[in-house]
């Protein structure tokens, strides 16, 4: 199975709107999923400028799926679902 790729937006909008807390994922994901999931920080994913939608920031992308108002829990849930863990 191909690796799941998690991109945490560390652009300014996402960072300010709460994305700073998502940096925890850098530690949690490798611990939990080993090399099945790869996590990286990313510059602005350009999601914040599409609509005037900073109120949905911070954004995280799990493969092509966009997680809005992302929290650590929300992101882990999506990964679990993709891996068929529940």
């Amino acid at each position: 199975m191909a690796k799941i790729e998690v991109k945490v937006c560390l652009g300014t909008t996402c960072f300010v709107m709460g994305g700073s807390n998502l940096q925890e994922l850098n530690d949690i994901i490798p611990q939990r999923y080993g090399d099945k999931v790869e996590v990286s920080g990313s510059n602005c994913l350009n999601l914040c400028s599409i609509h005037w939608e900073y109120s949905k920031a911070p954004y995280v992308k799990v493969d092509e799926e966009v997680v809005t108002e992302a929290t650590v829990e929300k992101v882990l849930e999506v990964i679990d679902r993709k891996l068929g863990n529940n």
């Binding site: 560390l10 652009g11 300014t12 909008t13 960072f15 300010v16 709107m17 709460g18 700073s20 807390n21 940096q23 925890e24 510059n43 602005c44 914040c48 400028s49 900073y54 109120s55 920031a57 108002e69 929290t71």
Partner: protein
């Protein structure tokens, strides 16, 4: 995101919307529309009973964002009017915090409460434990008479079923000086005479009811005028945004400021001056002490020396003076420690002085991790406005500025490694130490966060004139972790510290005095 996290998210979103409204061509109308834009017709109501209540609460939050007290709103004045008043205002309000009392409804008052788990047991340990006769048995269950209860929690600990609980009010519990209280009517209010502006309650309230009165409109007005506006950024900011502080400088300029100064520049002066003062004070105390011993020896070492009481004021320690929350504490609650506090100015004090000398007509804005610095800014004629990290962040969001895409700009003066470390617990004491040739002269004692316990400790030190373990330099930081734990910070402390460490590693050492 927990509840408090959501509340912070809403506060920031409101700030962004206020700034957007200001930048639009109809500030008043756009401000009026904020509650409707955030809670449009037909939207599922996220927190409260109905969309109208939600909008009313958002309106209150906007009032604080515009810099007005929520408590004084009589609900008849529209947000458009408030926006107009904000534009016309010349002065800012000295009281920094305001409570959205409508949000207090969800929170029970501080009391001891017997839950349904009470078995009405024969032992009645609760009744025996209560020293105030507040517990009686009604229909085979314990009942507490609130008028007699002193909330000592003896019954809570005594109950074998854990049936009695203390209902806490987060804001009250978080306040180190008992300045915020939920009164009989159930609304929290802040006693400004007691409040040290530490900002704990703003972070503690799960409903986000405590707001800082923002000066963002005043700052945007200054930027719009053709005056020079200069940002002075606190050292802890290095851990708060993506990118580095050189890119941050460009970003702040892109947001409309004319120039940016690192307050670490002033921290270098604070550290040096404090080191000088420390050396003098300790020499003086040594001299006094030996004088006293000589006198004692001359008099044969016996008898009550009438002046001995006076001599006991020999100061064996000095405390730092750069934390604004601590300075408020001294003024309002701990005057006895004042003689031990260094007279050295804060990093902001020196930075503002430098900026003012260079650009006497400029408007200066301190970019701050906490609400306490608003009080300091208010008292310092060289500081015109204070804006916190969240507000600066909101400004970036509103203006769509991406820090990491910015070029790097240099600062007029590169600050030292130690000055850049001022923002976390231990950093200030370390910088004083590093300023001295004989570093071993300093034995630091670090107060990492003001709370009831550490305030008691400071009181004790002030009365005895002595610190614990022979320490002679007490560094006091109001927030746990230091400024990186300030109420308006955005990054978690671990990552913030890492980022500051990176910057410090590439900075030169402080000059020795």
């Amino acid at each position: 995101m927990n509840n408090a996290g959501q509340a912070i998210h809403i506060k920031k979103e409101i700030l962004v919307r206020i700034i957007k409204a200001f930048l639009s061509d109809d500030f008043e109308e756009q401000t009026r529309l904020i509650p409707y834009a955030m809670r449009p017709k037909g939207m599922e109501v996220p927190y409260r009973c109905c969309v109208y209540k939600e909008r009313a609460i958002i309106k209150d939050r906007v009032i604080a964002g515009l810099g007005f007290p929520i408590e004084e709103d009589d609900e008849t004045v529209s947000l458009a009017k408030y926006a107009k008043k904000a534009i016309e205002r010349k002065e800012i309000d000295e009281k920094n915090l305001t409570v959205l009392q409508a949000a207090c409804k969800g929170c029970a008052t501080n009391r001891i409460y017997v839950t349904d788990l009470c078995q009405g047991c024969v032992a009645r340990s609760c009744q025996t434990a209560c020293k105030f006769g507040a517990i009686s048995m009604v229909n085979g269950k314990s009942v507490i008479d609130d008028s007699k209860c002193k909330k000592c929690k003896m019954c809570v600990n005594a109950c074998p079923y854990n049936a009695i609980v203390k209902i806490t009010v987060p804001c009250e519990d978080s306040c180190p000086v008992g300045a915020i209280k939920k009164d009989e009517t159930g609304f929290a209010s802040i006693d400004a005479d007691k409040c040290i502006n530490c900002g704990r309650c703003t972070a503690a309230c799960p409903f986000g009811a405590v707001h800082e009165k923002s000066q963002i409109i005043d700052i945007l007005k200054a930027i719009k005028s053709n005056k020079k506006v200069i940002a002075m950024i606190a050292p802890s900011i290095a851990g708060q945004f993506p990118g580095n502080i050189y890119q941050l400088k460009s970003a702040i300029i892109a947001a409309g400021f004319d120039d940016v100064y690192e307050v670490a520049q002033g921290a270098d002066i604070t550290a040096n001056n404090e080191a000088k003062e420390f050396t003098e004070r300790m020499a003086e105390s040594k001299e006094k002490q030996s004088e006293w011993i000589n006198e004692w020896v001359n008099e044969g070492g016996y008898g009550e020396n009438p002046e001995a009481g006076e001599e006991k004021t020999v100061q064996h320690f000095m405390t730092t003076s750069c934390c604004a929350g601590y300075n408020q504490l001294i003024k309002k609650h701990l005057p006895e420690i004042k003689p031990f506090v260094s007279d050295t100015g804060t990093p902001l004090y020196y930075t503002a002085q430098i900026v003012n000398k260079e650009f006497p007509d400029a408007i200066t804005v301190f970019v701050s991790p906490c609400v306490a610095k608003r009080a300091e800014g208010f008292e310092n004629p060289n500081v015109d406005y204070v804006m916190n990290y969240e507000e600066l962040g909101a400004l970036f969001v509103a203006k769509k500025i991406q820090i990491t895409e910015m070029e790097e700009s240099k600062y007029v003066k590169e600050s030292s490694k130690q000055a850049r470390n001022f923002g976390f617990s231990g950093g200030v004491a370390e910088s004083v130490k590093a300023s001295l040739r004989d570093e071993s002269a300093v034995k630091p004692f670090v107060i990492n966060g003001l709370n009831k316990e550490s305030i008691r400790q400071l009181k004790k030190f002030a009365t005895t004139g002595e610190c614990e373990g022979g320490c002679n330099l007490i560094e006091v930081m109001c927030c746990e972790g230091g400024c990186i734990g300030g109420n308006a910070t955005m990054n978690n402390q671990k990552t913030a510290k890492k980022l500051i460490d990176q910057l410090a590693a590439n900075s030169q050492d402080i000059e020795k005095i």
